[in-house]
């Protein structure tokens, strides 16, 4: 395995969060009764004319700019011709030789192009298996037909399945924070295909690629790509060769099957859509949209690590969660706690407390940013220990309040009186002679029961690191 590397490019289709379809004013909906949002345009009746949705174009430009693409000063739509029952007109309106955006980058992956098109209708295949093969009739629901899509095509810059998943998560949170799509994979508003080939390490030529279709969760994407890479390597090592094919990954069995290709699928006979005039966004419009872009995950993560010195993991969690990041920044602005400490609270204890309380985000809780700032400050200044801080946090999440007042009213301050603590540690050592011997003999883990004794005596208010320091000092270890 070691002498092969995989070369992976992704194609992502994202449904744009407009109110209406791409070329007609039918309402967009998910999960509605079939065929209640259709009209002569999206049903492809003769003599009807499409008109582009202004908001879809705007979302398209926002997306392309957020992905660092150049915006084509003039782009046109084409007809992509093929017959399939999910396509009412016999062609899909899409962009072809001049996409809206090109030559971008997100993270470590270059973007080849980003173009606008319309979604096909939803096909349900009848028949015993429920799978496409073997069923003799299908039902077509045109509610989805004509939904605005942006198709994002990457360069083949990805080398393994885990990176593909991570990058897709970055893409999803970028698009969500832009507000152009809800990117719900289960509902199909973000769909991913992967082009996969392998080559011997150091080989400049690309191998024959296969296309892995329509994976609908991050986990399946990672597992599907892994399985396909393994299949190709096994094939080549056994002396075979990879044939161009479209593959389907079945997450239940973990197996890959070759899908029959659409007849003449490669021969789409594109030509310019005569019913739609070109898109030519003005430089003013592009500048206006660019200026209004929010700070996106990639930039935020870089800033948190570079300027605020926040650990990478916490920075990434905050980068992917705009609401948590805004809360963090509001707390940080109040002063009193360092960025690292605060980010640790937000991504650690607070995230856990919110999960436990069943809150989707901090906005659902009673905790204020000033409450968190004060709490983190109390712990950082060792006025209370971390455990007490955690307990107060859980209360703040459910009831709100001022942590300083709570600490004072309930006498929760750390036992920091050195003499008092020293006396308690002496008693702890006397009460746990066996553990004391083990610690003295070099077994650090044996310190547990001694610290436990101190915490019981102080009702958990002793400063842990200070207790450990005292124990070691008294045993002559430091």
């Amino acid at each position: 395995m070691a002498d092969f590397e995989a070369v992976i490019g992704l194609e992502i289709h994202v449904q744009l969060a407009t109110k209406t379809k791409m070329f007609c004013s039918c309402e967009l909906s998910f999960g509605a009764e079939p065929n209640i949002h259709t009209c002569p345009v999206c049903l492809g009746h003769p003599g009807t004319l499409p008109v582009s949705n202004e908001q879809a174009i705007r979302f398209g430009i926002e997306t392309a700019l957020a992905l660092g693409c150049e915006i084509a000063p003039r782009s046109i739509f084409h007809r992509k011709n093929y017959f399939y029952p999910d396509l009412s007109k016999g062609y899909q309106i899409s962009q072809y030789d001049i996409p809206l955006g090109s030559s971008g980058r997100l993270g470590e992956v270059r973007i080849h192009r980003a173009h606008l098109e319309e979604d096909a209708a939803k096909l349900s295949h009848l028949g015993e298996s429920g799978r496409i093969d073997g069923s003799d009739a299908s039902l077509v629901d045109f509610n989805r037909g004509g939904t605005p899509l942006i198709e994002i095509v990457t360069e083949p810059d990805i080398r393994d399945a885990a990176i593909a998943r991570e990058w897709l998560q970055l893409l999803r949170s970028t698009l969500r924070q832009l507000g152009v799509s809800d990117c719900n994979m289960e509902e199909g508003s973000l769909r991913c295909d992967a082009n996969i080939s392998i080559r011997r390490r150091g080989e400049p030529e690309l191998g024959v690629k296969t296309e892995l279709k329509n994976m609908n969760s991050f986990r399946f994407i990672e597992r599907g790509i892994e399985a396909e890479i393994a299949r190709q390597i096994e094939l080549v090592e056994a002396g075979g060769r990879v044939d161009q094919a479209t593959m389907h990954f079945d997450p239940a069995s973990g197996s890959l099957t070759v899908l029959r290709s659409k007849e003449f699928a490669h021969d789409y006979r594109y030509f310019p859509e005569p019913d739609l005039v070109p898109l030519a966004p003005s430089l003013e419009l592009i500048a206006e949209i660019r200026a209004a872009l929010p700070e996106l995950p990639e930039t935020r993560i870089e800033r948190y690590i570079g300027e605020l010195g926040i650990p990478g993991d916490a920075a990434r969690v905050l980068g992917f969660d705009a609401a948590a990041a805004e809360f963090f920044e509001a707390a940080l602005a109040l002063g009193g706690a360092s960025p690292s400490a605060l980010s640790g609270w937000v991504t650690g204890e607070l995230a856990a407390a919110l999960r436990e309380a069943g809150h989707a985000g901090v906005g659902d809780s009673a905790l204020s940013s000033s409450g968190l700032a004060a709490l983190a400050g109390l712990v950082e200044a060792k006025t209370i220990n971390r455990r007490t801080g955690r307990e107060i946090l859980v209360r703040l999440v459910s009831q709100g309040g001022d942590p300083v007042a709570i600490v004072e009213a309930e006498g929760l301050g750390s036992v920091s009186d050195a003499d008092a603590l020293s006396e308690i540690v002496d008693r702890a050592l006397a009460a746990q002679p066996k553990a004391a011997d083990q610690v003295a003999a070099g077994n650090q883990k044996a310190v547990g029961p001694i610290v436990g004794f101190v915490m019981r005596e102080t009702k958990g208010r002793a400063d842990g690191p200070e207790v450990t320091r005292l124990i070691r000092a008294k045993l002559g270890l430091d």
């Binding site: 109110k19 209406t20 065929n35 259709t38 009209c39 202004e54 009739a137 299908s138 310019p272 005039v277």
Partner: protein, 96 residues
């Protein structure tokens, strides 16, 4: 000159049935070739610096506000369908 196989392939892509016994295929081959010859004649012109014309009207950015309008009643939408079922257009399975 477009050959017979090419005509049949294009017809298949366009879902057109040509009567092979009536000389339709040969007629199409002649007519399509004539069209391509005409395009070749245009291709012979010196068009250096001339942008391709994808649209003859001089308009750009004809856009629609993203506002919901009325859709068809489902019965009306399904009325022309040859085999409606379960509120949907029932069709032969594309891969059966």
């Amino acid at each position: 000159m477009i050959d017979r196989d090419r005509v049949l392939q294009v017809a298949r892509l366009a879902r057109l049935r040509l009567d092979e016994s009536s000389g339709e295929v040969e007629q199409m081959a002649r007519e399509l070739s004539g069209i391509l010859d005409h395009v070749d004649a245009i291709g012979g012109l010196d068009l250096e610096g001339v942008e391709p014309t994808s649209h003859v009207v001089d308009l750009v950015n004809v856009l629609r506000v993203d506002r919901v309008g009325p859709s068809l009643r489902r019965e009306a939408a399904l009325a022309p369908a040859p085999d409606p079922a379960e509120g949907s257009f029932r069709v032969p399975s594309p891969q059966a």
